[in-house]
């Protein structure tokens, strides 16, 4: 047992003090030391001994006593020992300062340490140990440069001063010059081979930093051999084990960490690593405890940052984003340069993203990206943020990069797909498909969302087969398969058919009773809805309705399913049921704008105008006017109202039109690409006669509307056709109508056929006009107006044929037949109007009947004449033919004769020559006296006769035509009377359209009340007459054109009649009762 001997003053004796039996009270020892005036080195030894035994208080007491002024005085010449005592105190306070976490106490400790060192320096400026101490103090204070100069002072004097070497090594280490540091450590080891393990620790750290892991490990192990309790070495080895990243290594590492913790529970690094470990094992409580301790024991920035990071991560994983965010922030604050420790930035970014602070998240992720430019996760996160910030292009770029860097990262492709879905569906589809393939290859389950998205894109592109498959893949196994399976289908569907009620859920109850499990996981509802939507699109409405009902059976609040069922009912014209279903939806959510809009639509279909307007208003209000459908519907409402009023109040009309325009414009402002609003605006413009502008608008809308199955806009085709029609471009208008009819309506729309017929009518293609009308009648046989129109067309055809200067008997015959039909049609309509079957003006029909009858009489005469003429023609032709035949025969005979004669003459000449001249003369005379001359004369007479006859006949024909004319003028007067009758009724109309043509500038701004009243009046005035007619615009202008025409021509009767007819046809157009919304809407609802 080590002892010290305190020499007793003035004697040879010594007091023996056993070092392991030092008294508890240091004063005892102090008394002895003072009393015996013991050498100062003894003081130091005893103090050190106390320190070693952990009796810090006694240590301090002895040293403080040993550095007191009286000691200084007494031992004034003992310099070294006094310095040593001061330095020991300095080191002690440096140490205290180092481990102290509270800033103020820390400062105080350092100040004390500085004082002791200064005092030591005053005793001897050049004492190296003081300098070393100062250096250490400065190091502890983090003033590396000053520390370095302190150490250098020592090393200049003695380049082998071990403590200075170590200090300088530390300085170099802190400066990051690890090889320099290593050199210094090595030198220290050479100078002092048996130095404590700490040096080897330093060497190990340097080598570690230099990447010489094997040698570093050796160094640490050596340090540990020398000092089995060397926590740093243990931790260092543990870290290295952990970083080996093998299961065994990690286990070994953790064991070491644990041992280090047991040896010294306040090593921040060990604590951090342990916390890290427990984080991964999910023991968050331990994580928090450990990190909190770690934070308490260290003020080393990076370590603290690590601790905060651990803590933040723990909270993050627990979902406490607020706290996690704060700790991440604290962690980030401790970091000088992001590249030292980037994880907290990432975590912070994540949390900020979660909390919706996109801009901050953006900066944090960007910092991460700076350091790891190819990190897919970061790229994806940034991409996501850019999406949120609306910078789609940038987001796409990032995600594309992510997908490119790791072409096997399904998530990246999914993200990319989701991003592209709104801009480039084709590319989105590719991305999703790639993701699907990757996931399948990896044997992972493809997320339902991805399959759903693939299905939706296929759906949108009209690739229904693929869409169907995709939805089915997404749905997987479930009750729906049973429902759609054709084997069980018969029962199911039969059962469902009995409840066209749609609301009936018995089917499912029965299904459950049959032992089947009716289940619908929440995450498959959307897919199921989409599948049903698809089935609807491919016209399997029955199956679709079963699926919608299944959704509602399980999720009564799924409003859209109600709306789709309502839409199906509406498409089947079951308005009552449709309204019920919409109301059902409104029960779930009374302010659901889609439901309200649909209800308004239905009310409109039911001719409930006032209610419809209120409903649209409500829909609009429910979304603060942001729901464009409701606004559009209101616009449409106003537009219809403007044209609907039979009484044609011009002011009201203007107001409504203006209001409609305003509403359309509002929608366009909100959604610049709203086709329906653009279409509406075009309609209003056309209504005002600005055809060129509206044509441009319609053309653009038409172009934009092609491409998606969800956008079906036949209206714009019709409107465009109307504009062409109004501009007199009949051929184009017809083509447009025909294409529209074929493309969108499977040729089933009688209304468009009517438009077409009207165009043919204007183009004076009577037969085509008639055929179109007959087709329309075939489609809509109960529409009597069409029959009226057909009658008018036939009448017009006949009249125009009779008007022709040249016509064949066949033509006239068919004219007569046509007129007979027309008369029949009109007289039947007249009879029917007695039964109030339709709203025709009886007088008008009778006028037509009368007119047709007269025309018929005339036509009959014409026919007779034409037939007679034909007969005569035939006779004449026959005569001419016979004459020609006779002539031919004669000529032939003559030629024959001539030939014979010549032949004979030749013979004569040859034979008889001049001798028989006389005989020849006789023969010649004989020839002359026979037929030719007289015959020729006869013939010419005959010709003359023929000419005269035909002349006469022509004259006769002329006369008869005159007679015709007079008789016709007789009809004219009669008809004029009829016209007068008509006119008496029509001025109103005229006025109305005149006013209507006037600029709407003078329109009064009526306030809502007035408008409300007006609307009531509208409703009262029989708004149930619902011809929704864009048609009106063209028809009016056409009428105008006609009018101009009839004004310029002098009163040519047929011209007048034509005009009358146009008015008539116009009227009949106006009388159509088809309730179709030609201008807008409709489709929008289906697009959800």
């Amino acid at each position: 047992m080590a002892c010290v001997y305190i020499p007793v003053q003035n004697s040879e004796e010594e007091v023996r003090v056993a070092l392991d039996q030092l008294p508890r009270d240091a004063s005892d020892i102090l008394d002895i030391l003072k009393a015996e005036q013991a050498p100062l080195d003894l003081w130091l030894i005893i103090a050190r001994e106390y320190f070693k035994q952990g009796k810090v208080e006694q240590f301090r007491q002895i040293l403080e006593e040993g550095s007191s002024p009286e000691i200084d005085e007494y031992y004034a010449d003992v310099r070294y020992e006094r310095i040593a005592i001061l330095n020991a105190l300095g080191v002690y306070y440096t140490y205290l300062g180092k481990i102290e976490t509270k800033q103020r106490e820390k400062e105080e400790h350092f100040i004390l340490a500085t004082q002791y060192y200064n005092k030591a320096s005053r005793i001897d400026m050049h004492e190296p140990s003081t300098w070393v101490g100062k250096g250490q103090l400065l190091l502890a204070k983090g003033e590396v440069e000053q520390a370095s100069s302190a150490f250098k002072i020592v090393l200049e004097a003695d380049r082998d001063n071990v403590p200075a070497l170590l200090g300088q090594a530390c300085v170099e280490f802190n400066r990051g010059r690890y090889s320099d540091s290593l050199e210094l450590y090595k030198r220290a080891l050479q100078v002092h081979p048996s130095c404590p393990g700490a040096i080897r620790l330093g060497i190990g750290l340097c080598r570690y930093k230099l990447g010489q892991l094997g040698k570093a490990r050796q160094a640490f192990q050596r340090a540990l051999q020398l000092d089995p309790e060397n926590v740093e070495a243990l931790v260092a080895l543990a870290v290295m084990d952990l970083q080996a990243n093998e299961a065994a290594g990690i286990r070994k590492g953790m064991e070491k960490m644990q041992r280090a913790f047991e040896i010294y529970p306040y090593c921040a690094m060990a604590l951090n690593y342990l916390a890290n470990h427990f984080f991964f094992t999910g023991q968050h409580f331990l994580v928090e405890q450990l990190t909190e301790t770690a934070l308490a024991v260290t003020n080393h920035g990076p370590t603290k940052s690590h601790s905060y990071y651990n803590l933040a991560r723990s909270y993050h994983s627990k979902g406490d984003y607020e706290k996690a965010g704060l700790y991440y922030m604290a962690s980030v604050k401790e970091i000088n340069k992001p590249h030292e420790f980037i994880f907290p930035y990432y975590g912070l970014g994540q949390v900020q993203l979660k909390l919706g602070d996109f801009r901050s998240a953006l900066t944090n992720f960007e910092k991460v990206l700076e350091i790891y430019p190819d990190n897919c996760e970061t790229l994806k996160a940034l991409g996501h943020i850019y999406v949120q910030l609306g910078q789609i292009e940038k987001a796409q770029e990032l995600l594309r990069k992510a997908a490119k860097i790791d072409p096997r990262d399904a998530q990246a492709f999914i993200d990319l797909g989701e991003l592209l879905i709104s801009s480039d569906t084709g590319a989105a589809l590719d991305a999703f498909k790639t993701a699907r393939t990757l996931l399948k290859k990896a044997g992972e389950e493809v997320p339902i969302e991805v399959l759903n998205n693939i299905g939706v894109i296929h759906f949108e592109k009209g690739e229904f087969e693929s869409a169907h498959q995709s939805f089915k893949d997404a749905l997987g196994d479930g009750i729906w398969l049973t429902l759609l399976d054709s084997k069980t289908k018969t029962n199911v569907i039969d059962a469902s058919a009995s409840m066209l009620q749609f609301k009936d859920m018995q089917l499912f109850h029965r299904f459950e009773n049959d032992g089947n499990h009716v289940e619908l996981p929440w995450n498959k509802v959307t897919v199921l809805f989409n599948l049903a939507r698809l089935l609807e699109q491919i016209h399997d409405t029955v199956a679709a309705s079963v699926l919608y009902r299944l959704i509602l059976f399980k999720h009564q609040d799924y409003v859209d399913a109600y709306l789709r069922l309502a839409a199906i009912a509406k498409a089947r014209n079951n308005l009552q049921l449709s309204i019920e279903l919409v109301n059902e939806a409104l029960k779930v959510n009374g302010k659901y704008p889609n439901a309200l809009s649909m209800l308004g639509d239905l009310e409109l279909k039911n001719d409930d105008w006032v209610k419809a307007k209120e409903t649209f208003r409500a829909a609009s209000d429910a979304t603060d006017g942001k729901d464009s459908y409701a606004t559009l519907s209101l616009g449409n409402w106003n537009y219809f109202a403007a044209l609907r009023n039979e009484k044609r109040a011009p002011k009201l009309e203007a107001t409504h039109l203006e209001k409609a325009k305003e509403l359309y414009t509002r929608v366009i402002v909100q959604h610049t690409s709203n086709l329906y609003a653009a279409n509406g605006a075009g309609v209003v413009l056309a209504e005002k006669g600005q055809f060129d502008v509206s044509k441009d608008l319609f053309t653009q809308v038409q172009e934009a509307a092609s491409g998606s199955v969800f956008v079906q806009m036949p209206d714009v085709w019709i409107n465009l056709a109307h504009v062409y029609f109004a501009q007199g471009n009949f051929a184009l208008a017809m083509k447009m109508y025909q294409n529209c009819l074929r493309k969108f309506y499977y040729n089933t729309d009688a209304q468009i056929l009517l438009y077409l017929a009207r165009t043919h009518y204007e183009a004076e293609q009577w037969q085509d006009c008639k055929k179109s009308l007959l087709r329309a009648i075939h489609l809509a046989p109960s529409n009597y107006t069409l029959r009226f129109d057909a009658g008018v067309a036939m009448q017009k055809f006949s009249a125009s044929t009779l008007q022709k200067t040249r016509r064949t008997a066949d033509e006239v015959r068919s004219t007569v037949a046509e007129l007979e039909n027309a008369v029949r049609v009109f007289s039947h309509l007249s009879a029917a109007s007695n039964l109030h079957l339709h709203g025709f003006d009886e007088k008008k029909i009778n006028t037509h009947v009368e007119y047709c009858k007269h025309l018929l009489d005339a036509a009959k005469i014409h026919r007779e004449a034409a037939e007679r003429e034909e007969q005569q023609n035939r006779q004449r032709q026959e005569a001419a033919r016979q004459a020609a035949l006779a002539e031919e025969a004669r000529r032939k005979a003559e030629e024959q004769k001539k030939y014979l004669l010549e032949k004979r003459k030749l013979e004569d000449e040859q034979k008889r020559l001049r001798q028989q001249e006389e005989h020849f003369q006789r023969v010649k005379e004989q020839w002359r006296s026979s037929t030719p001359a007289s015959k020729r004369r006869e013939r010419s007479e005959n010709d003359d006769d023929e000419v005269g006859h035909s002349e006469k006949r022509r004259r006769k024909g002329g006369k008869r035509r005159k007679k015709d004319k007079s008789s016709r003028s007789h009809y004219e007067t009669e008809y004029a009377e009829a016209d007068m009758m008509d006119y008496r009724e029509e001025p109103e109309d005229e006025d109305a359209s005149m006013n209507y043509r006037e600029p709407i500038g003078q329109m009064n701004d009526q306030d809502d009340d007035v408008e409300e009243n007006a609307n009531d009046r509208l409703a009262a005035a029989g708004l149930e007459d619902s011809d929704v007619d864009d048609e009106m615009a063209p028809s009016i202008t056409a009428a105008r054109r006609r009018r101009a025409l009839s004004e310029s021509d002098d009163d040519e009767p047929f011209e007048r009649q034509l005009r009358d007819n146009t008015d008539e046809l116009q009227d009949s157009d106006g009388e159509l009762r088809e309730n179709d919304h030609k201008s807008n809407g409709g489709a929008a609802l289906d697009d959800d």
Binding site: L500, K771, I777
Partner: protein, 315 residues
């Protein structure tokens, strides 16, 4: 159960073909086809080679309906001008001309015994029965007006009767109207029985199952085909699949299938056991106005707005 296309005649008429029926075989000749068109003619065809046998004229406006007597000797054709012309199939000699107010003639069908011709009375909201011996009107089966409607109401046009069908036992007549209701009448008592509900759009074609006098099929503009228990007043099943109006429906003689023609330009074959469309023929390029099974089976014919006639083998 399938269709196989046999032959098509393009431009069989100058205009849309709107009606078709089989004229049953007589002792002297096999079954023939009778078609009616917008071009105002009625044409008779030999179905083996689709050779034109004869063209009947005499109608004004389009021919909307043709019907053949079960004996195959006489047939009737009706046009938009509301005349019904009854003629001898082989000689084209006119037998009778039945006149009605305009739009009071639409589809026609002879009863299974051949004693009566039922004519869908269009705007008269009734079915007219004509005696085929005397050609006198023997009964008018009117659809009762819903109560509380004033005669001035315009609703009568909604009851416009488009289609008519005899039950195979000849005891019932069903007629379909513009508003989608189907009315069933007791023929012997000339009495209205009940409505069949479910359609809300025009019912353009009706046919009873040849094997079950209770089962009625209806084709409607709502794109659906309904199968009713016409006696029990209940809807048995609804079949969807057509993209547009279903214009015509006919049942196979064996009662196992029906065929439909639609505005969507297709002819579909439906398996009644599966309640599903087995096949969809797409050879027409415009609305298919008429489909008809040969009474003896084995053949189906369809006519269309595209002016063509198509013949299929049904097996």
């Amino acid at each position: 159960m399938k269709f196989a296309g046999l032959k098509s005649v393009e431009n069989a008429h100058e205009e849309s073909v709107w009606a078709v029926t089989w004229v049953p075989a007589t002792e002297t000749r096999p079954a023939l086809l009778l078609t009616g068109s917008l071009d105002e003619t009625v044409k008779l065809w030999r179905p083996d080679d689709m050779q034109l046998e004869r063209t009947n004229t005499g109608h004004c406006l389009g021919v909307v309906s043709v019907a053949a007597h079960p004996s195959g000797i006489i047939a009737a054709s009706a046009s938009l001008d509301s005349f019904v012309r009854v003629f001898d199939v082989d000689t084209n000699a006119s037998i009778a001309t039945l006149e009605a107010p305009p739009s009071e003639v639409w589809q026609m069908q002879f009863d299974p015994k051949g004693t009566t011709l039922a004519v869908a009375g269009g705007g008269s909201a009734s079915v007219k029965l004509w005696d085929t011996a005397t050609w006198n009107l023997i009964a008018t089966l009117s659809i009762p007006r819903p109560e509380g409607l004033k005669p001035t109401d315009k609703s009568s046009s909604k009851k416009f009767v488009l289609s008519v069908a005899w039950s195979p036992d000849g005891r019932r007549i069903a007629c379909g109207s513009m508003d989608g209701t189907i009315s069933v009448f007791d023929v012997t008592r000339a009495k209205f029985l009940h409505h069949l509900e479910g359609h809300f759009m025009p019912v353009r074609s009706l046919v009873y199952s040849p094997v079950d006098p209770r089962v009625l099929f209806s084709a409607s503009d709502d794109t659906h085909v309904h199968m009713y228990d016409a006696e029990g007043k209940s809807l048995v099943t609804a079949m969807s699949g057509h993209a547009s109006w279903v214009l015509s429906v006919d049942a196979s003689p064996d009662g196992a299938a029906i065929t439909t023609g639609s505005s969507d330009r297709t002819v579909k074959l439906w398996d009644l056991n599966m309640r599903a469309a087995m096949q969809s023929m797409t050879n027409h390029t415009d609305q298919v106005w008429g489909v008809s099974f040969r009474p003896l089976g084995g053949r189906v014919v369809s006519v269309s707005d595209d002016k063509s006639i198509s013949l299929y083998e049904y097996s």
